[in-house]
Each structure stands twice: as C-alpha cells, then as structure tokens.
Symmetry: C2
Subunit: 369 residues, 2 copies
C-alpha cells in the first residue's frame, strides 16, 4: 500500500525565511522594521461559521516603538530559533524554546511570555497568526492528554522509522494521542462508524472493558477533561473524514465547557479557528432530560454547585447557544431543579448500562446540537 505522507514543515520554514527577508529588506531601505498580524482581542472575534475565529482586523508589530521594541525583538529571536529547530529536525516545547532564548539573550527574555501553563503564549500566537502556521508545524510540542483505542490504524513516520499504530491492539489501555497529529502521520484505516469522545477517564476504561469500540464500531477517545491541542486536531481530522463526532460528558459546568470548546472553540483559542474545532459535533449527554427516559437516574442526581448554576446562566446568555431550543430547555432544567447529573451515574443500576445508553441515544438520534 502506498501512503502519501504530508508535512507542513517546509511551508513553515519558507514562511519564516520570507519573514526574515522582508525584515532585512525593510532595514536595508531604512524603514522601521515591522510585520503584520491579525488582532486577537475580543473585538475581532467572529462566530459566523459555527465556531469562533478571528475577523480580518490587522495590526502592525514594529521595532521602533517604545511599547513594542522588546517584544518585537523577542518575536524575531523566536522566529530565528524556530527556523533552527526546523533545520535541525528537532522538536521542543515552549519552555525549551524559552531556555534556548535565555541562553542566547541572557536575562533579557521575559519568562512569563513562555509560560506553558497559560493558554496564551503571546509571541508564539503572534507568529502562528502572522504566518498562518500552527506551532506544531514549527516543531513545537505541546502537552499530551487524550487517549485512544478502537478500529483505527495510523501510520507514524517518525525520525525515519515507519510504525503502524493499531488502536485495536492496546489491550486494557490506549495510545496516548500525540502532540502533533499532522506532520508525517496519516490515518490509513478506519473501520468505525463514529467517534465517541468520553469526558472522564473512568468511563473510557468502563467502555473499553466492555469492548464498546469493537461491538459498536467506534473510535473511543477520552480527552481526560478539556482537550489538548493534539486531541482537538485529531478530532477535526476524523470529522474531515466524514465520521460523526459524538461527545459524552457530565451534565454540569465543566462538561458543558468541554463540549462547547471542542465544538466552537473558545475566546482564547479563536486564533486557531476552524482547524481546532468540530462544529459538526453532537452532544450525547448526560442531560437532565435523560431522567424522563431512564427513570432510575432520578434518584442519582446530585446537588448542582454554585459554579454549575452560574455557568448555566452564562451559557443561556450566549447567542450561539440560545439559538438551540433544546439547549435552552436543558439548561433551564438545571437552573430550575438545582440538580446535576454525572456520566458515572449511568452505572448505578448495572455497570454495563453505560454502553447501552450511548447506543440508545445514538440510534434514536436523541442528541443535542
């Protein structure tokens, strides 16, 4: 079998070189060196296509500008390092990049601009947006978190070796979804009808034990809470292959947040736009309405916390959620009852009911948009 394995690394490298040439040209012409990026503030975020993305307001980053000079210089130093990583064919994290800069530039590098814990890494985002390249294509790794199993085969061409990852051969556990699922890696076989995203690791383990993915032809993924960049990208790719993406979370603040971020993105991640969201995703549950269909759940609800109620109210205030009557109804049920429901509760009557529940919900199309 011949598989065409693609990589964006050359494109990323070319764009960095172009940026450098442009700046050198400006300096030669005695211009104030600058580059253009897209405004990432709230005022330039649009949601017309079912996900959050940046509009087309642009802004300049200039060298001769008291407020920007230091950041500008650091950004160019970053671009220089990224090109070096691509030349060397070596990867590192944002923190590794920080230390490379600190080594070259000394104390003059702002540690906080390279904080992996913050969702927003200003300088890297600037380059991603200005050059329209993902950080993964710049050889930057990000933290891994999700796990997969099921009928999927992935050809991983990594450091000269070609390995086939077989999601049906992971036994009691799974393959950790890598940081970069794009470059030199191709999904070569999918024998599944859909992808099931399970919020909690415990439920993933429950379903994996029942061989849910085998019996129901599903790719089983847990992001283990909020999705990593790698997990988001993988889900986007699977959706692009025509697979429905079904999301299964708690009925509470955190569960809704996980679903909506996966589906539409978030304000912080709007700069990533379409490539990191799955607007086609559907919500399986659990929902307060499930109680009507599966009455044993009624006594398994627990008290909603302040954060759950506050979040439900917040979600009801968003246009892109208010347009769905099912969600309005669902969130109002939480607010009225002041109760919540966890996905774990489905195991109350019998442990294997979790899989039955998912089957019923999908087969009857009882899903939220």
């Amino acid at each position: 079998m011949y598989v065409f394995i693609t990589s964006m690394k050359n494109v990323a490298r070319e764009r960095l070189i172009e940026l450098g040439k442009r700046l050198a040209e400006q300096i030669k012409n005695k211009q104030n060196p600058y580059f253009e990026t897209i405004v990432r503030s709230k005022s330039n975020i649009i949601s017309e296509q079912g996900f959050l993305e940046l509009g087309n307001k642009k802004e300049k980053r200039e060298f001769v500008n008291i407020a920007q000079a230091k950041t500008f210089m650091q950004t160019i130093a970053v671009a220089n390092k990224l090109k070096k990583f691509l030349d060397e064919d070596l990867h590192t994290s944002i923190r590794g990049l920080y230390y490379q800069l600190k080594y070259s530039l000394g104390e003059d590098v702002d540690e906080n601009l390279f904080d992996e814990q913050s969702e927003s890494n200003e300088l890297i985002e600037d380059l991603e947006v200005a050059l329209n390249v993902k950080r993964e294509d710049f050889n930057l790794t990000t933290d891994r978190k999700g796990v997969l199993a099921g009928p999927i085969k992935i050809l991983d061409k990594f450091k000269g070796e070609e390995i086939v990852i077989d999601g049906t051969k992971m036994g009691r556990s799974g393959w950790m979804i890598p940081s970069d699922v794009d470059n030199n890696m191709e999904i070569i076989e999918v024998d599944a009808d859909y992808v099931l995203v399970v919020e909690k690791d415990a439920l993933w383990q429950r379903l994996n034990e029942d061989r849910f993915w085998q019996k129901n032809r599903a790719i089983l993924i847990t992001p283990k809470g909020q999705s990593s960049r790698g997990t988001r990208r993988l889900l986007r790719k699977l959706a692009d292959m025509g697979l429905p993406i079904y999301v299964f979370t708690d009925c509470d603040a955190w569960g809704w947040y996980i679903y909506w971020t996966l589906k539409t993105g978030s304000i912080n991640l709007a700069y990533l736009g379409k490539e990191f969201t799955v607007p086609e995703a559907k919500f399986i549950g659990v929902t307060m309405s499930d109680i009507d269909k599966f009455p044993f759940l009624k006594k398994l609800t627990i008290n909603a916390k302040e954060v759950d109620l506050k979040r439900a109210e917040e979600l009801l205030s968003y246009d892109w959620i208010r347009k769905y009557p099912q969600w309005v109804d669902e969130l109002n049920k939480v607010l009225k009852s002041k109760k919540k429901l966890e996905q774990d509760a489905l195991q109350g009557e019998r442990l294997t009911f979790v899989g039955d529940y998912i089957k019923i919900k999908i087969e009857t199309g009882d899903l939220l948009p």
Copy 2:
C-alpha cells in the same frame, strides 16, 4: 512461550466472603458485629525500611457504636458491591461504586466518602487495609496518567484476549500506563538496563524523539507530574525485576515532592506501604550542583518561588532526608541562592543535550540517594 499469568482476584473475593461470614457469625452469636483494621493516623506510621508504612496498631469498626454505625453499614455495603463486581468480572471507579450504592441505598450514601479527587477514600482504604488487598484487586479502576515507551513487552490478557504491548512500537507517542498493572498482565520481555522516570511530558517527548530509550537501553516513563497508582505499581514491579529506577525532575518544590513520594511514599499513602514505593530509586537531577559541572546552566537558573524555599526547609527537617548529606547540601544551595533550575533548562545550549546529561550523570554515578 508459556507465560504464567497471575491474578489476585480470587484471593480478594475469598477475603470478602470471609469477612461476610465472620460478620454473619457474630450476628448469629448475638455479638456486636465488627471487623479489625489498622490505624492509619500519623501516630501509626513508621519509616524503618526506607519507606512510609503502617505500624501494627489496630482498631475496631463496630456496628453498635453511634459514631460508627453509618460508616460501618456503608463499608459493608461497599464490600458487598465489590464482591458483586468480582463475580461479574467487571470494573468500575470509586465514583461508579458510589452510584451503585446510591442506587441501592438511596440518599443514605455520603457522596464525600467517594470523592475521586481526594487522595483518601476512607471506606475503600479501610477495606484495603483490613483485608490486605489492593483496590485494583477489588476491580476498582483508578485514574491513568503516566506514559511509557522503550524496550519492554507486556502480555495483556484482557477480557479473554491476549495482546502483546510492545513499547518499541509506539511511534511518536506511548502506551498509557493502565490503572491495574498486576492482574492478568505480565512483563514478558525487558531489554533495558534501567528505567528513566521523567517528570515532565515535554522532556519525555524530547527524549523519545532522540530515541533515547533505544540508544541507551532504557524504559522511558513520564508520570506527568505526580505518579498515578498504576505508574507507582509498575515502577515497583520493574524494580523487583532488578532494574535501577532513575528519577529526573525539576530542582524545585514539586520535583522533590514527586521524587520523594515515589521513593518513600507519603503520609496519605502510607497504608499502601512497600507495594507502591521504590526506596531503591536514585535521583539524577536536575540539581543546583549541576551548575558546577555544566557551567552554561548558571545563567539558566530562575528565581525560586516562596513555595520552593518553604519546601526545601521542610525537607531539611525530615529525619529520612537529613541523613543524606548530599541532599542537605543540595537543599541548602537552593536556600542560599534563592534560585531554582528546571529540567527544561538543559536544552538551552542545544536540544539534544538532555540525553547527554542523563548519560553522563548515570555513567559517572553522579546521583543523589
């Protein structure tokens, strides 16, 4: 090849049945039903063997006792459910167990006693200690977190299927270390000289990219911060096979905590004793003394935070740390300089230095106890 695959599940089941019989006998004899467990409070924690474990102070749990009646009843209900899970050959988490109880007993189950987020799940611990059985042997799953790659083969006999997990065939990522690494799972081949435990996922990815595990015959594991139960158990098992366990963390509060918990356990985990600790583990670094050997690191130190300094002082107050002059020296260096060093800093000069550093430290025996 014939592999003898063991399981503790029958033992666990027998002990639950015994407990039930004993209680029934007591009731028949008109005694106050009770069982004995070992005191888990600080006063009964000893550290004579290089790790924290419980002493032999015992205490009774009684039914006819106003303070204990409800908890006693819940514990027996838990034991009953655990036997059911073993009979059904199905696993669930503590949260799943909670909902099974809530389904049977209604509102009368204390949610907080089954909080997966807390390290201490009183009722389960009571049964683990009283019956000398690990929760994994009771078919309870725990959260997964660590990842492995390298020259190790594991035979996983899971739900009737036998699958060989090959740590050299994980491509750019790894196999997620499962919740239970004991029952029906055997390490069938190890072609490694040691195990390298890397605190941060980013550094694991860096070393995996360099194929460090191949070039240096090492099993590469990241617990991704503090180790999960599964990761702790796996490390204990690998140590039992005679493999040295080398730990590589940041030189800061969190890094030291990860190392010492892995090596000696913690007060909360003392009830687990030897099976979840690796007193033989050695500390590679990073250390403040590394600066003398690798001078480029000097300018890559960063300011220690309050928590780092406080933790260093705390560690210096512990007998089991004060007995090691190297650790005293190391912690004093942090307190004096008010600086810390991250493992990521090793990439400052060149990205591939991380692997060289580890090689040098191990080859020259420059390790802390």
